[in-house]
Symmetry: C3
């Protein structure tokens, strides 16, 4: 267990692991202290996500480029996937959809913007490979379009409409997963040289031995699942206490917590003037959510959810996802960056966060008309 | 008639010409076998479009660059124009509009995506001239915006509104045709070197003698008109039989059938690593539909249609056209392509096709509210 | 006063200054001749805007790069700001919002398109620095997104909704002004070399002495304020006489009048094959409206307006602003231009103008449903 302990000693983020046992104890003693449990579970997920990410990379490093890349690409968003699965099982579809949309928006705006800002504060103008960035931005755009089509079919509230949405969601999910599989073939086999940067990101660190890495991967995944359960249970109550809407929690809080480990890598890359790495992580991670995590959740909702989940997002989320991917395309288009580009990208993110925070939560008693009005704004359907 | 027969012998696509007489016989014997007539007319239009395209190019090759370019540019979408005129004359405005929108979407997504895919399967990474591609993508974007403005003026169902839409449609049509004329001046006279690639596409083939080319042009146009009439008559019934919505038929079937000849050229260019040619055909053809075919149909609806046709599309078509042109801009932006780019562009097309196919057709008896709902989704107004 | 008189003698535009006293006399003799007063005030504002612009540049030239740049950036849209403030004070929020949206659309489409056209008529193909143009187009896009978010929150007509819109507008305004401040830091201090072109535009002309420049600045600002008051008062009546909607007046007339001086600089730059200058003025000016003028007006509405003004635009304006900034991004993306690019950009502008001109004005007596319908189209809320 030496490398694991060494890692923990050198990485202050991992000291937060202390909150994992604290959380389980608190859960047993005070099962109704929702706000406390919410805060503790957030603090516990962050270091677990970091460990998960490191374990995945260690396994990947040992198994050769192709299998390793496959693992990295599939398990890179494992934390988000486990949280979403827990919420799916609990039937909290609002939270699931908000966390999908939020992960795409947070990765493209917050991760990218903060990378540009942090990199730009240290380097006057940063250049990165336009070609790769554009290719990845195109993939992200197309992936996002994929999950947005059923939402364009928005107010289909009639019986025929909902059956249509369901059929379309299944068809699209299969199509998106096929595209994801072909994308892996593309990025790992036929054209891996275009994505070279991102793969070898952490290779400077010493990878763990295989046994340790696999054990950590399995053990931490179980821990994340257990912590997620407490998180999903407490989040509704805590949101009320903090005056946050469920949309805000899913969109902002879950996305930031779930992506903490990847963000650490992206930001460190930016500060080392390796923006290719940061852009690759941010856009690649967002594409993966759209092409893999979202359709898998739709298909799994038939197995583990109380009812089928569609790929239909509320209009506010659609607008935000579209703007986020358009921003990413525009901003990575020039192949150069400076701190103010980061400020503006972060501004768009802040505006989204402010809008979601201020948004009055949709109350049950409202008339149909009013609810459409506010749904239009940004609150997901119950 | 030797070159024509030679052409037919060497081009397996032209063997389908046998379906032309079969269609006319079937039409006389079984005028009510709509599904049969529909299939036969589709099979008959494809080779006729090919002949028309070859005849146009032969005339163009003989008449010098400028007049030839003018002919190529004006008659390049002659098949689409004749089909649309037949539908216009029959008062089937849904079909006309769906085929306009579908031709734009099919050319930008299917033709471009398939070119990238077919080219990418043979060549690792394909490079093409960014500058020209960007210029053409900009023209396409602006042309599409032009025909979309009145649709933004969507639910104008009041008397004032419909008068407004009509006036605006006429004004815009004139403006678009003027822009088209200036565009010809630009691409054939003042800046023809920027569009060099596309013009000399087929020059490798031996052009037909002038007499043969002109006779073929006239004769085949008449044949296309006759076949189109059967096609337009049978399409509604056939759609019901195959479970297809009129939107699907116009958007997908008519567009694929009408553009078959151009697609053959674009795909063959891509396989020969001449992506400039493929991109030029795909984007140029889509621009031409928006700037020339669509406004001509609006103006002609005052002469040959039972009532004026507006430039107003249903919201689903607007969204699809916008996404298609944005995709084309993004994807051609980098100047390089690989097979997976083609896959993703085709995926967007497949998603559109799936959405249109699954869409419940708008039934007559539905309430106003329900019909708005579904109109919003993608079914054109009756 | 020699340099001022010299300037007036050499610049035919300034001969229009004669209309300033004529306007004040007409206002005293015939206070009800609204159409006459409207025409006279338009003719009077154009030369005053020119003088204001020249005085600002003279002060800027004397005070060194940073302070000068700051002055130029802040007072560059002083005319628009003064007109909008006068309208704000009069409670004409429709006019204020239409003039904000119109200034963004006019600067990005008309100023850019006309620069491309005028430059292209003299030079075959014009090249300009892609990098700077893209950076500025990205800034403009992000700035526009900033002011569009509350409008996505469109039909929030409930009590909770309007309180939400108000809070969001204040929050966003503060955020936008902070971003504007950081943008000045960026363009004047840390990365001024990227914006080099635009700053030194007029340095060829002899700057005025400081005293004259400051006096002109103060005196002309007062004159603009006085003329604006007559303009705002007469515009409603005049619009009726000319059959123009208030949206058309604000969007097109005010924007063209207020931006006349900047347009003169941009067009002259384009003809001298200095497209970097033209693009910089057009995109920079539009960004400034979005990041500075709009939020300042929102915040000042609490001080000088009869009631708070939100950042919420009607859907037609939102669509037009989005299309305008997307067009600017696409068109400046390639770094080269020819006359037809200008034609197409101007065509989009003409289409917008035609739509706004033909739009039936929203009458008071209409039902709620009808008014929503037409609001959707392009008429601002009363």
């Amino acid at each position: 267990m030496n490398p694991l302990l060494k890692e923990i000693r050198h990485n202050p983020l991992l000291w937060l692991l202390a909150f994992v046992p604290v959380l389980f104890i608190a859960q047993n003693i005070k099962p109704d202290a929702h706000t406390l449990l919410f805060v503790l579970s957030v603090l516990a997920i962050v270091p677990l996500a970091g460990l998960l990410s490191h374990a995945t990379e260690s396994v990947a490093a040992k198994t050769g480029d192709t299998v390793g890349g496959l693992l990295n690409a599939t398990l890179g968003n494992l934390t988000e996937l486990v949280i979403a699965l827990t919420a799916l099982h609990a039937g909290q579809y609002t939270l699931v959809k908000a966390s999908i949309a939020g992960a795409i928006v947070t990765n493209t705006l917050f991760m990218l913007g903060m990378s540009f800002l942090l990199g730009g504060l240290r380097h006057h103008v940063q250049e990165y490979d336009r070609g790769s960035a554009r290719l990845q931005a195109s993939l992200l755009f197309l992936a996002t379009i994929g999950i947005l089509i059923p939402s364009a079919v928005s107010e289909a509230d009639s019986a025929a409409g909902s059956e249509f949405t369901e059929k379309l969601s299944i068809g699209l999910s299969v199509l998106l997963i096929v595209a994801y599989g072909l994308g892996l073939l593309f990025s790992l086999r036929t054209h891996h040289e275009l994505f070279g940067g991102a793969g070898h990101a952490e290779s400077a660190e010493t990878p763990w031995p295989m046994g340790l890495a696999l054990t950590t991967l399995a053990g931490v995944t179980v821990l994340v699942a257990l912590v997620s359960e407490i998180f999903v249970e407490s989040v509704q109550h805590a949101a009320l206490t903090f005056g946050m809407t469920p949309a805000f929690v899913g969109f902002i809080v879950v996305a930031l917590v779930g992506g903490a480990a990847e963000m650490a890598s992206a930001f460190s890359g930016a500060r080392k003037n390796r923006l290719d790495l940061s852009v690759g992580i941010a856009l690649g991670s967002a594409s993966q959510i759209a092409l893999f995590v979202a359709p898998v959740l739709v298909l799994l909702s038939y197995v583990i959810g109380p009812q089928p989940m569609s790929l239909q997002f509320w209009p506010g989320a659609v607008v935000m996802m579209l703007i986020a991917t358009m921003t990413a395309s525009l901003v990575t288009n020039s192949g150069r960056s400076a701190w103010f580009v980061g400020v503006l990208v972060l501004m768009v993110y802040l505006i989204f966060a402010m809008t979601l925070y201020l948004l009055p939560p949709r109350t049950q008693g409202e008339s149909k008309h009013a609810s459409i009005t506010i749904t239009h704004v940004g609150v997901p359907e119950a």
